[in-house]
Symmetry: C2
Subunit: 343 residues, 2 copies
Amino acid sequence: MPRNALTSRPTLIDVASAAGVDVSTVSRVLSGNTSQRVSDETRERILACAKQLDYQPNIAARSLRVSRTFSLGIAVPQLDNPVFSQMIIGAERGARANGYSLLIAHIEEGGGDADAYARLARANRVDGLLVTTLDDNSVVLKAAKQAKVPFVMLNRQVQGVRNSIRFDVARAARMAMDHLIGLGHRRIAHLSGQLNPSTGIGRFAGYRDALLAAGLEVDPALVAVSGYTIKGGADAMREILSRPGPRPTAVFPLTLLAATGAMMALHEHGIRVPQDMSVVTVHDGPIAEAMFPPLTTVRMPVEQMGYDGVVGLIELIRGERKVVDATLAPLELVVRGSTARLL
Amino acid sequence: MPRNALTSRPTLIDVASAAGVDVSTVSRVLSGNTSQRVSDETRERILACAKQLDYQPNIAARSLRVSRTFSLGIAVPQLDNPVFSQMIIGAERGARANGYSLLIAHIEEGGGDADAYARLARANRVDGLLVTTLDDNSVVLKAAKQAKVPFVMLNRQVQGVRNSIRFDVARAARMAMDHLIGLGHRRIAHLSGQLNPSTGIGRFAGYRDALLAAGLEVDPALVAVSGYTIKGGADAMREILSRPGPRPTAVFPLTLLAATGAMMALHEHGIRVPQDMSVVTVHDGPIAEAMFPPLTTVRMPVEQMGYDGVVGLIELIRGERKVVDATLAPLELVVRGSTARLL
DNA sequence: ATGAAAGCGCTAACAT
DNA sequence: ATGTTAGCGCTTTCAT
């Protein structure tokens, strides 16, 4: 019984001698090398022998020879965040479809420079990296740059990073906000991932633009920073509720997890959703449906983002492409029980 | 600028010539080979050169030479289920700590034989496999057996599988049930993963045992199969609510996702938690806290399971161990708002 | 259309 | 204590 994957398995030599040809011929057939012709008869015979022996190429040998690992890495800061699980699902699918494996690297939050660097230095195990970060100035990013392999950033645009697949979050925000405004809401709070250093009202233009388009003003008292966790969302919501002045009638947390936290805070305060407060967010998923009441959301093509990122990355690696640069549009608004017309 | 990970990087030869020694000496130093002595002076010099050149070993070459890939695979059926994300977090940590990479394989549900087999046949990229399945008779399992590498099954015990890390779910169930019984509940429903073919009352003994220990009877009308999804939990809860006869005063869904679904169904029916119905489940996580009301749960060491599984697997691969066979005990009961004393 | 042969970077006998 | 050397299994010129 073999101890490991690479022990005592048939090699090209076995297939070659079974088929009575040279290894190079077998290689040509099995690796689908089209530049050289092999007679149909020989090809058949080789294929039959390979199948009969259950031949599986030794990837380490091939890697050594062709200087490629055929694996990609994906670095995620939170594995138990639906946005990242869905990204991974899409990325894995794309990788598999192209003969690549996906290696996961969990970047622990607050792991610090040394750790993140060390981790990604392992990048010599991969031909390319999919990088996601919650913090734009993250060390992860520097590490990825150090990693001397092409990388594509997902769901984030960062100064100096050329390759990225982004989500048109401004448009999604606009859709969410227009929904609330259309329901008659005027005092709409916003839980933002982080504040824009210049405007101070949240990173994404959608919130502000929608207000302005409706002739409303941006009230800083209605905006708080939630980050990207449930706890962050709950804290930000509590913060807004604790501020003096009239309470908002609706809230737009930017992320699903923040919205989940906001719902907690609202329940704590005995504020009924949607009667007293409408809630809408961006990014749909099973949790959104499972909330009470179920959340109205703007669907986000997260899996697609992972898939497109991988495909772009592979094209980058193959030199079939110089740059990966796409923006995915939001999918539709799914209206559920968390939003209602302002009475 | 290098196109990929393995192009134009310093090799052992570079380090050797920089240090003025032979490659074999460098190899001995850098691979920490303790069986052969190298003078401290030479060692220092080699280490310095390696560092200065930023030498990183070529893993493909090493793999080819030693017939090991230094990667492990983890096959999961649902990536967006907290139980699996947490397992992966633990597994990744364990792998990393031992110089292994973790490769993820997402087994799509209903992927069918051919697909699952084909996927795991790729197992020649890994030295071992962590296998998780929701369906005991899964083809995944057969595939893993075909995969000629050691594998450890997580969170499930299956006939004929020697290596597994299990969770003492019977004891966890007992803790959950005792909590409900202690609160005065007598009519307690159970949403089970699947039914036990012999008893017909759910796979796990904890539910039945707790009832019997309290002098209560098992009422089949209070048991339904939920599977392991939110929807399954919601459907099973609806099913029980639709049955004639007195309604239960508490429900014990076996999994967090099923509990989430059950909460949905209860809300739909206007049944208040915990006033009209107490809910307790096994496996804690952020969602449990985010529910309304927050769920009382028995905490489950899921990350630990991934970690222990990986460590055991590596020991298996190294031949330091013949079998991996452990059962993890449940952690504590966390009482939150979803359970209350029966009035 | 097929074969011969070199060599990717590394490790582990075996020599010295 | 360190050097020499033979491959691991594969792809890819270069011959034929």
